[in-house]
């Protein structure tokens, strides 16, 4: 089996360059590649275009890349509460393209499945449709949306093996599997890295062929954005 293991986040992103396009997995702060984001901050590369469903919070996740002004453009469906984000957007330092969440996911899918474009009804009749081809199938209108092109996809999984196979845990899965299929180079950080052969082939979520570099991450904080509880005695 082909060995995809690198030493850590810094080695994994060593050839990432100013001005490139990255996909970053995660939904909110759940399932984000914490180690690689920290390494990107350390590396200090600039003018990045980031495709990610959200933009983190001020002091965690992609918010860290915004703080250090490394992001030129965000492509997201929801940018939430992030004061630094808002400041950069209003000052014109940051460009933002907001697209429907399903369109975001499906444009990743299209890239990973080798489909140059897909059709979705999301956004028909809204400003999202501006400049896009509208096509009628069976009496319903759809927008044609293009597959993403990303220089790197950076994802976080729960377990992975040396051959690059990935298994995600719970809703930390979210965008990670579709982004993993969509990068020209895909980097996976995992909580536990095992030898090829230790994972059940039937339970692999992302086959290793899609993953170019893999390493076991350290010190996961896994910050909770909206801790919501019910009382013990309802």
């Amino acid at each position: 089996m082909i060995n995809k293991v690198v030493a850590g986040a810094d080695e994994a992103i060593h050839d990432l360059k100013d001005g490139q396009t990255l996909m970053l997995g995660g939904f909110g702060l759940c399932g984000i590649p914490e180690n690689c984001i920290n390494a990107l901050v350390r590396k200090g590369i600039k003018d990045l275009t980031c495709i990610s469903n959200n933009a983190g919070v001020d002091d965690f996740g992609i918010g860290l890349l915004l703080q250090s002004r490394q992001v030129k453009k965000m492509i997201s469906s929801y940018v939430g509460e992030n004061a630094e984000f808002e400041r950069q957007l209003l000052s014109g330092e940051l460009e933002v393209e907001l697209i429907p969440q399903g369109t975001l996911a499906t444009r990743c899918l299209a890239a990973g499945y080798g489909m140059p474009a897909i059709f979705t009804p999301a956004g028909v009749g809204t400003e999202v449709a501006e400049g896009k081809e509208v096509r009628n199938f069976n009496g319903k209108e759809y927008l044609m949306e293009y597959a993403f092109e990303a220089d790197f996809a950076i994802v976080k999984a729960w377990k992975g093996d040396t051959a690059g196979n990935l298994i995600y845990k719970s809703t930390a899965r979210n965008f990670n599997p579709v982004m993993a299929t969509a990068g020209k180079i895909t980097i996976a950080e995992v909580e536990e890295l095992v030898e090829a052969g230790e994972l059940d082939p039937d339970q692999i979520h992302t086959p290793g062929v899609y993953v170019h570099r893999i390493f076991q991450g350290v010190d996961y904080e896994k910050r909770i954005e909206q801790r919501t509880l019910r009382s013990k005695n309802p």
Partner: protein, 219 residues
């Protein structure tokens, strides 16, 4: 006049046994608290979960298990986890029977605006545009008038649209209304103590309001 929980409780009566349901943020989330006895529904969260359970008790929260509002949640027996592409795949292919979401404005033609106010910081549409464009059955839960006292049920939306010609039913603190295929709000039920005249004054869009419109019934 209903409070938020009243609106949620009234909407919960629309749930049918066997429904898969997507609940938006705000009042729609409250609907989960009023699912009628004997009605089995499965809640979908578009970040990749079918079979969403209640919020966890303290100490049981799992940072890897959240809903589309980023809240910690739990799963119920029979739940399944999947990626975002499949999640919106099942939404687009209309496997979700009912979507309930909030709105800033709804038009008499079923258009909805709920994601952007010009001049204000835009947070994004999230999954709302996918949901309203795909769902076969959408109920809007919202206040009948805005804070300035202006009707949110309009001839035409003034805000940027989320979706066109897609809303079938609106439940507010004042009324239950269907949106007719040919356009117009059909008043179906009045909230307790609310008169037809009051609803007429609070509705800017075309309203069909029979004088004998019944009051809502609970339980």
């Amino acid at each position: 006049m209903l409070d938020k929980n009243g609106i949620a409780k009234r909407i919960a009566k629309e749930l049918k046994d066997g429904f898969y349901v997507n609940l938006g943020i705000g009042i729609p989330t409250l609907v989960a608290n009023y699912i009628p006895e004997g009605i089995n529904v499965v809640l979908q969260s578009e970040n990749g979960l079918l079979g969403m359970g209640p919020f966890p008790i303290e100490g049981q929260e799992d940072p890897d298990l959240i809903n589309a509002g980023k809240q910690t949640i739990t799963t119920l027996p029979g739940s399944s986890i999947f990626d975002s592409a499949l999640s919106f795949g099942m939404i687009r292919s209309q496997k979700i029977d009912l979507t309930i979401l909030g709105a800033m404005e709804v038009s008499e033609h079923g258009d909805i605006a709920n994601w952007k106010i010009p001049g204000k910081m835009v947070k994004g549409m999230g999954g709302a545009m996918d949901l309203v464009a795909s769902a076969k059955n959408i109920i809007v839960a919202m206040q009948h008038v805005n804070k300035a006292g202006e009707s949110k049920l309009l001839p035409k939306c003034s805000l940027p649209l989320t979706g066109v010609n897609c809303i079938k039913k609106v439940v507010t603190e004042l009324a239950v209304l269907d949106i007719l295929p040919e356009g117009g709000f059909q008043l179906l039920e009045r909230a307790p103590g609310v008169s037809v005249d009051y609803i007429k004054q609070a509705t800017a869009g075309r309203l069909i309001a029979p004088e004998d419109t019944p009051e809502m019934k609970f339980d």
